[in-house]
Subunit: 364 residues, 2 copies
């Protein structure tokens, strides 16, 4: 038997910058001109964002002499499927796009995941930029290169890791964001404080009012800190082989709640309940001080984030979801637990009975 080795050791550089500020989109054209991420740009967005910001965004780039087109699809998680994705690919071909074209994801998490996935598979991979318009996308999904679509067996089961070439976070977009959508992002910001930064957590406690009134400089700081925490973790573990899992604090139970509600319950709201549940779990297992656990609950309350199971959801259905995950993961679900604010750790073994007890404390 003959053996031929294909040597594909190499250095790669997928580094990129995150730009954060209020009304920063006028800073985009010179950066596009300097970095030449594409010889032409196609904005991918949903119909809601298209109505609110699409035309202005495009005219912004056009006026600067940058060749740009825009494609939109119906808003909502239901659009995050392969048929809409292939439809967009066909439209890109119709526009004459090729390997030198660059996509711009203008929208929330669904738009970012779709545009990123499309960029990763169109002609075997092209460049894309993230311009997240929701708080949740600004602090979470726009950074780190996770892309994907849903299939009927579950969410994000088809996708890639494909890093954007840059992320432009304009907090001006948050002014048009509905309250419920704003809260979705707040829950993730609380999570960042809990897994990595006492400073951010204290800032959230102190600046409650300014945050809720969406004061630009306060949001800039909280978003910047969140991005910094996420990027540090992504740098260490781009493809979620290990440490990146701490980003899932609040998400094991959060996801189970989303699934039990058939994804009718919003992600950030489910994560808020998950944060409380997993903090109480940490407390019950003797890792987290009771006072700290109260403090966490108080901050969630300050932001008027949900702290009880959604009405109509039984804790049994949530427990079943966790157990199914466990079976799939060959008995090993890594719960992220807390020893203190900023001190998370992975713990594989958590008794079902204990989870049940905690969930019971969260029944309305």
């Amino acid at each position: 038997m003959k053996q031929i080795s294909v040597d594909l050791r190499k250095r790669v550089n997928k580094s990129y910058d995150i730009y954060i500020g209020h009304h920063i989109l006028d800073r985009m054209p010179p950066l596009l001109a300097r970095h030449k991420w594409g010889d032409r740009y196609v904005v991918i967005t949903d119909e809601t964002v298209y109505e609110l910001h699409g035309k202005e965004f495009v005219s912004h780039l056009s006026k600067a002499g940058i060749p740009v087109e825009i494609l939109s699809f119906p808003a909502g998680e239901k659009s995050k499927n392969i048929n809409i994705l292939i439809g967009l690919a066909e439209k890109l071909i119709g526009l004459g796009c090729d390997r030198g074209s660059c996509l711009i994801a203008l929208g929330g998490g669904v738009v970012g995941d779709m545009a990123g996935f499309l960029a990763s598979i169109f002609m075997r991979g092209i460049a894309y930029l993230q311009v997240p318009t929701t708080l949740l996308a600004q602090v979470d999904s726009s950074i780190g290169g996770k892309t994907g679509v849903d299939i009927k067996e579950g969410k994000n089961l088809i996708g890639t890791f494909h890093q954007p070439r840059a992320v432009f976070i304009d907090t001006f977009f948050l002014s048009t964001l509905p309250d419920e959508e704003f809260k979705n992002g707040l829950a993730e910001i609380v999570k960042y404080g809990l897994i990595e930064s006492r400073g951010l957590f204290q800032f959230l406690e102190e600046k409650r009012e300014e945050i809720l009134s969406r004061k630009a400089e306060v949001l800039d700081y909280a978003i910047g800190e969140s991005c910094r925490i996420k990027k540090n973790i992504v740098e260490l573990d781009e493809c979620e082989a290990g440490i990146r899992k701490v980003l899932n604090f609040g998400h094991t139970i959060g996801h189970a709640i989303e699934r039990a509600s058939n994804y009718r319950y919003p992600h950030g709201h489910a994560v808020s309940i998950g944060i409380l549940a997993e903090s109480r779990l940490s407390e019950a297992m003797g890792y987290l001080d009771t006072q700290v656990c109260h403090r966490i609950e108080q901050l969630l309350a300050d932001f008027d984030l949900p702290r009880r199971l959604p009405p109509g959801l039984t804790y049994e259905s949530i427990l079943t979801g966790i157990q199914t995950d466990k079976k799939k993961a060959k008995g090993q679900i890594n719960f992220v637990l807390l020893k203190d604010i900023g001190l998370p750790f992975l713990r594989a073994q958590v008794e079902d009975e204990l989870i049940k007890n905690i969930l019971e404390t969260l029944i309305t």
Copy 2:
């Protein structure tokens, strides 16, 4: 405006081995056990290969204690679409596959492209192995990590670069290959000689009989040399940014013939005509010696490979295809031309009139 840099410079190692020989599949189980490419394996194949080799292949691994399942889809290029791909993904979920599972592509180019693409997007990327069963796949598509599916706008417009973890080339599979399919691969082997190796070209001239009678050791050598040439090019240019384009010798006109025939004319046959046409183009432009050009035509004739345009195809339709490509590529089509056997070069400007003249010499 705040700026945060995400540092994703790193060393990656996507190296892998190509194993070549006659009846080598009994060498797979120990290699699977040693390298642990997956904690379980799912063979992806088409129905034709399933009938010929599927059960034996699976029982081979099963007997060695390796957990393996098999999924098949209808044979042929028509199956290379996103719906069949998503159907396979759903079946993988049904089998309980996760990020630790590994796919095995058992089949020709369609199977390899599909399984590779599926592996690249299933749960954001899992491992896969190539076990090519056609001569064409053994010398070409199984190496280099190009994956993809067709959309109605064109072939391979959706796909990824995703390298396999190993390639197992068992020349035993060639014994069940129809003559026409065998010729498909021969044309690519001739191409490797032309773009890189006088030695391989001479070997093909000298061993004509043994190759056509599919003598194992002669095939092993020709396939091994082809793989070596391809892997050297892939090492230099994994994502086809430049030098990898020389692999397209014979393919500019070859692809135009395939397309003009609505892909009814087989790839390798079209490449054979393309090789002759592009050799004559090289001769007409004063790069290639007339004697060498005759020698190339003689070798194609020795292997009974097509040297005239398929009946029913006009040269106008082929020329139109090339011109459309040219327009898409902003006027820049890189023809690969020859200065001698083993001495290819890229040439952007070739007069349409000259292409027309050459095509006219190929009318039956």
